[in-house]
Subunit: 262 residues, 2 copies
């Protein structure tokens, strides 16, 4: 009985010490002369250096959704930095406005890459981060952005795009990709059609990139975001199954790429 | 110190009791008048009913490869039955012979389905198996077979095809599919080309099946089988990354579909 109590006590201690203590803070930084405002999340209960994950927001800019994902990553034990691509205070409130702001970066991939790199530098500079174990994930516009960051040759172990646009004006840049690529795609996404998927796969194939592509049934654009509603006919909608499955696929991907000395 | 020793002792006990004790046996059974010879694998150290997984062999018939997969599944805690589609002793020794035997079933899907169902019945009848938690996996020819079994309306929670042929003469039968479908595909498979992939996805989409499709870069046919060599130009070759990734994807899939009361 004493034995049992002692084992139980040890277990309780382990459980308590394993409890995550997620901390967050707003980080102001710059790219060129532009002031950007990102959001850092990490687990204060962990010690030692750990992998860092850059999170890039949807076309509405950095808001509660990307911040929540950063916190979820922190709970998993990563240091996550939700970057700001648009600039401090630039948070489009309507789809029309979002489309307009996103277009600036879609039309200027150098700027898109520079903004993403600025965020990556912030992440890399955190003292809890192992600078040799970095990855980037992004949603919709952010998926496009992290793929572009990879094409820029950024020193990443992996990038994961969730329902991101896959096209690029410079597919030849894929030869610069150092990251392993995981694309998580809604099979019914009307904004990222079969021809775009085929071109993307061909781009990566031609450049001998290490990639995986997962298509989820009955999922359209924005399938990971509960705020997208549940009407697939609108072209963007939440799909709980695809959301959970893609998150698990990302976790698996991370467990592979972040292995020491892979 | 005493405390530490006691905790350690408890841990050792847990570790020992968690050790798998995989048992196997050859099982003779019948479909119609044809005698079939399958291979059952389970972990004798586990108690209680657990999920059952049917394994269907490549075009060479039931041999060491599918048996090894059944044992791996047993180690994971499932009861696995490597079915025999061809008949006792029918084990083609050359590719030419394998193609000839496989063609019998590819051309007669009713027979293919009946043979697969016979195997499923054996699995279901094992007293360690929870008959409400069944799945089927298959490799190459076996991938085709388990998809056909699903189209036959078999009571499966899931089917996973590893580099299987995806085409069927009766795509309309997809409306009968009860299983969730996971297709694991080599992105450079010359035997399962882009048009076959597109038709398959369209078949499942039209029937509102719950499916996921994963493409693995630089992988051709037979990418999970070390015996396939490593020369992609031959159209069939082993790819260690894609092998490991697809196995992990299957494990994730099983953890989802076998959850009680999903």
């Amino acid at each position: 009985m004493l034995r049992l109590v002692m084992v139980a006590a040890a277990l309780v201690w382990w459980a308590v010490s394993a409890e995550a203590a997620v901390r967050t803070k707003v980080v102001e930084y710059k790219q060129g002369d532009t002031v950007l405002e990102g959001y850092l999340a990490w687990d204060d209960a962990r010690i030692g250096k750990r992998p860092g994950v850059l999170v890039v927001h949807e076309w509405t800019g950095l808001g509660p959704y990307a911040k929540k994902r950063a916190e979820m990553l922190a709970k998993l034990g990563y240091v996550a930095f939700a970057a700001d691509i648009y600039g401090k205070g630039v948070r489009p409130a309507t789809p029309a406005e979002a489309a307009k702001v996103a277009a600036i970066y879609k039309d200027d991939r150098s700027l898109m890459r520079a903004r993403a790199r600025a965020g990556l530098e912030v992440l890399k500079g955190q003292n809890q981060v192992d600078p040799k174990r970095l990855a980037a994930i992004g949603y919709c516009f952010g998926g496009t952005t992290v793929l572009e960051l990879a094409r820029d040759g950024a020193d990443l172990r992996g990038v994961a795009s969730f329902h991101g646009g896959l096209a690029t004006p410079t597919p030849g840049d894929a030869v610069n990709i150092k990251a392993r690529v995981l694309a998580l795609h809604g099979a019914d996404d009307p904004f990222v059609k079969a021809d775009e998927v085929a071109a993307f796969q061909q781009e990566l194939r031609a450049a001998k990139v290490d990639w995986q592509f997962i298509s989820y049934a009955n999922a359209v654009h924005s399938f990971t975001n509960p705020d997208a509603g549940n009407d697939n006919s609108k072209g963007a909608a939440y799909n709980e199954k695809a959301d959970k499955r893609s998150w698990e696929a990302m976790k698996l991907f991370f467990s592979e790429i972040f292995k020491q000395g892979r």
